[in-house]
């Protein structure tokens, strides 16, 4: 994608866009002035693009220190009259939730959209929570797009509705939608909304920034939720939701299969669906001639009761397809009870569709096959319901890798080596983990007496052999609080690992807690000078901000000292001997020992590649330590010999330092 295309003024032009690219285009068309995020897959690309395009689009953009701050930056933007946009992965909304929930009470003056990207099947997350629950918890409207075009269109619709009803709007995507590419037709860019008009502010000072400035009109009754005000605000919110329920929206739509395909099945059935599930429903219904109507829901909270009632009234049964939790299903059951309807509901709650993980066309087709197998022999739909009710809960009984017919082929498929993600060649995390494991070995501490409290970042890959440096993990920043907790709960050696960006995100307050409460553990801050896992975004430890401008660099060392840590060391993990020495001292220290291992991520662009290594076969004893214990992907065994792939090797020299026989040295390029 050549990013400039997203700036095109050609209305009606078609681009082949990723869902996240479409979200950016939506923000541009909607005239957003303020955008903030903390990077998280599957929403990261939105921020990466804004990093490049913010100045061309009159948008102030920042990578905030965490999602809660991003939420606050955006809420204050919207209340000051500027269209504001925040986006985050699903678990990011947990972090932001404290402020997020109150934004519904405080309301907004200009549009505010919160995009949450859920991750069914957990491609890169610690859970698959369904953030549609948050809409209900906070009483904030939610939209569910099914493809990139809808993401873009719903961005604009969301801003308009948000502005009209003075309430934030959530757009809920999933990995499959954020990382789907599809054809997107461009609309008009509304650049009057965020046109810069900053010649004079109220202090007569010239503001020289590339985004529009708003104005905050005081109204403490509305914006300060002390109990007296909050009570009134909650009432207002309920009334707002009643108004929102009345609007006609274009986002809920009935899809009928073409008439020629209509089947006269003995039961009158239909489907209600949203998001990605709608796509599977649509394809299966049309490809296999199911001949049933689908109500696609794009606006799912407040729940469109009237439309759904009208759709289901005359049906015998309705299938509900949604990812992940049965939320629409429960809403439909409520409508049925409330209006004393007779129809049956087929969904997750009665084991027709799997209750967890993302769907696929195969899963949906298979579920329908099972349904019709039973439905064909029954003449009373209630019997079908009882039969499904009596079934075991459906986790995901569809086996993707069914046996292939040919045995040789089947053997080949079943005995393939796996290919898990690993630390890159030259990754400083590998050097650190190698040093830590060697320290523990040299000190003769049994492995099961060491607890590795891990955190969220590339270094979580340390869970894999040969490193095995992840024993416990909850969330962003949890390694520090967990370290403190384990130090109270056990007498084991506790080693916590956290990345630089994660430390800024949520590691600082638990560090203060640990020191104040006299915990004893070793905290390693893996400072690789970037937010590596999500693609290399800047963080407060660097001297650039979210728009590429220079910014003050915040020192992790000084934060640790300021937090009261008495053992604080900054080391280069590529120096094996020094690293081991430092860890030995840290383990002896009675308190929280902070080691900042500082070396840039191997993927940072523009870093000079150092000379690569090679093996001296006269010295190599073939002990395989470099392959089995260090496991750098640049080192492998070919024809029974250790070889270093000079193209892949980054010249970090960790292998040179760890080899007992001194058999690895800098490749002599003149030979």
């Amino acid at each position: 994608m050549i990013l400039e295309k997203l700036l095109s003024n050609e209305v009606g032009k078609k681009l082949f866009l990723l869902g996240n690219e479409a979200a950016v285009r939506g923000a541009i068309e909607a005239g957003v002035s303020i955008a903030a995020t903390y990077p998280g897959t599957p929403s990261s690309e939105i921020g990466n693009i804004l990093y490049y395009l913010s100045k061309d689009t009159n948008i102030y953009f920042e990578f905030s220190v965490n999602e809660k701050v991003a939420m606050e930056v955006v809420a204050t933007g919207a209340v000051s009259g500027l269209r504001s946009f925040t986006f985050m992965k699903h678990v990011g909304l947990n972090v932001a939730s404290d402020s997020f929930i109150t934004t519904a009470y405080n309301g907004v003056n200009a549009g505010m959209v919160i995009l949450t990207a859920d991750d069914p099947s957990m491609f890169s997350s610690q859970n698959e929570q369904d953030n549609r629950h948050y809409a209900r918890l906070a009483k904030i409207p939610i939209l569910e797009p099914s493809n990139p075009q809808e993401i873009k269109d719903m961005m604009i619709y969301g801003f308009e509705r948000s502005e009209k009803f003075k309430i934030p709007v959530i757009i809920r995507t999933t990995t499959r939608i954020s990382h789907m590419r599809g054809i997107v037709e461009l609309g008009e860019i509304n650049n009057t909304i965020n046109k810069i008009n900053n010649t004079i502010n109220n202090n007569n000072i010239l503001e020289n920034v590339h985004w529009k400035k708003g104005f905050f009109k005081k109204n403490p009754d509305q914006y300060v939720p002390i109990p007296k005000n909050a009570a009134q605000m909650h009432k207002n919110l309920i009334l707002k939701l009643e108004d929102i329920k009345k609007i006609d929206n274009k986002l809920n739509k009935i899809y009928s299969p073409s008439n020629t395909l209509k089947k006269n099945f003995k039961f009158n059935l239909a489907i209600i669906s949203s998001g990605s599930s709608f796509n599977y429903a649509y394809d299966i219904v049309n490809k296999y001639n199911l001949g049933i109507n689908i109500l696609k829901l794009g606006f799912t909270y407040p729940f469109p009761e009237k439309e759904v009632l009208k759709f289901i009234k005359n049906l015998d049964g309705v299938f509900i397809l949604e990812e992940v939790d049965p939320i629409i299903e429960k809403e439909v059951l409520v409508i049925i009870a409330k209006h004393q309807l007779k129809l049956s509901v087929f969904g997750k709650l009665n084991n027709v569709f799997p209750v967890i993980y993302e769907f696929s066309p195969d899963i949906i087709l298979n579920s329908f096959k099972n349904f019709y197998k039973i439905a064909n022999k029954e003449n009373n739909i209630k019997n079908i319901v009882s039969e499904f009710n009596s079934k075991k809960i459906k986790i995901n009984d569809y086996n993707q890798n069914r046996k292939l017919k040919n045995t040789k082929l089947n053997n080949l498929v079943e005995n393939l080596p796996n290919r898990p993600p690993t630390f890159c060649a030259g990754c400083p995390h590998r050097s650190t983990f190698f040093a830590v494991k060697r320290t523990i070995k040299e000190l003769n501490i049994p492995e099961n007496n060491v607890i590795f409290a891990s955190d969220i970042g590339c270094y979580t890959l340390g869970i894999n052999p040969p490193y095995q440096t992840a024993d416990y993990l909850l969330s962003m920043g949890s390694s520090v609080g967990d370290g403190g907790g384990f130090s109270k709960a056990t007498n084991q050696l506790i080693m916590s690992f956290i990345g630089d960006s994660t430390f800024f995100h949520s590691g600082i307050s638990p560090l203060i807690n640990g020191i104040h409460n006299k915990d004893k553990f070793v905290l390693t801050v893996l400072d690789n000078r970037t937010t590596a896992m999500t693609g290399g975004q800047p963080n407060p430890g660097l001297n650039v901000d979210g728009m590429g401008d220079s910014a003050p660099e915040i020192s992790i060392e000084k934060i640790a000292i300021g937090s009261g840590a008495e053992f604080v060391k900054v080391i280069n993990p590529l120096n094996l001997k020094k690293t081991i020495e430092t860890y030995k001292k840290a383990i002896e220290f009675n308190g929280v020992a902070v080691i900042i291992v500082k070396y840039p991520c191997a993927l940072i662009k523009g870093l000079k590649k150092k000379k690569s290594m090679e093996i001296n076969y006269n010295k190599c004893s073939h002990c395989l330590d470099c392959v089995k214990i260090l496991a750098c992907p640049a080192i492998s065994i070919k024809n029974n010999k250790i070889v270093i792939d000079y193209l892949n090797c980054r010249g970090c020299t960790t292998c040179t330092q760890m080899c007992k026989e001194k058999a690895i040295k800098v490749k002599d390029s003149f030979r």
Partner: protein, 214 residues
């Protein structure tokens, strides 16, 4: 009353018209997402409807990467089991891993240069022999096109053109819905001008290679 027993298995020819599905697989960093985007963009330019699925994130640290492209009336971007019209493999065992998408008439085109998983010494399974993979595939599938893509890419000037070698090869198949020339112009839309010549050469090399098979 009509029973659904038979109908659920029979496909609607109207819906399946002009459908073409491509599964692309390999290892992080091989240019798989770019290749898929170029195909999708090319299909769009030809007024076809197209949707595509990609997986980002953890998988990019040397893990397996795959994308799915569906041209036709589809809304969903995932290919049904055994339903790929073509598989483009950047790495031999990743092709084997994708066989649940293949049927005997799937065009299976792949690069024969292995990328050995870095943790192979700590796994119980060995990396299978390439010749044997090819032989087993040929026994079971009608259209197997193994090519030494790394070699052709190097000849085009850079190993990084591997993806365009494979894409050029794909366009040589009669069933492939986008012509070589349209793929070249879509490539130009998606890559920086200074890379165009090298990548055109790569596309041509891949194309010629498959032509010589037929």
């Amino acid at each position: 009353m009509i029973s659904m027993k038979k109908d659920i298995y029979s496909k609607n020819p109207e819906f399946c018209k002009n459908s073409y599905t491509i599964y692309i697989c390999g290892v992080g960093g091989q240019g798989i997402i770019k290749t898929s985007t170029i195909i999708g963009n090319g299909a769009m330019n030809e007024k076809m409807n197209v949707v595509m699925s990609e997986i980002h994130g953890m998988s990019q640290r040397g893990g397996a990467v795959s994308t799915e492209l569906k041209i036709g009336n589809y809304k969903s971007s995932l290919i049904e089991e055994f339903n790929a019209d073509m598989i483009i493999g950047f790495e031999p065992i990743e092709v084997v891993r994708s066989l649940n998408k293949a049927n005997i008439n799937t065009k299976i085109l792949f690069n024969t240069t292995p990328i050995i998983p870095s943790n192979i010494t700590s796994q119980k399974n060995n990396y299978p022999d390439i010749k044997e993979i090819i032989a087993i595939l040929k026994e079971n599938y009608n259209y197997i096109y193994p090519i030494n893509g790394d070699q052709l890419a190097k000849e085009s000037g850079d190993l990084l053109t591997l993806n365009m070698v494979l894409l050029g090869a794909a366009t040589a198949d009669k069933t492939f819905p986008i012509s070589k020339n349209k793929i070249i112009s879509s490539m130009k839309d998606n890559l920086k001008p200074k890379l165009h010549d090298m990548n055109i050469e790569a596309i041509e090399k891949g194309y010629e290679k498959i032509k010589s098979f037929q």
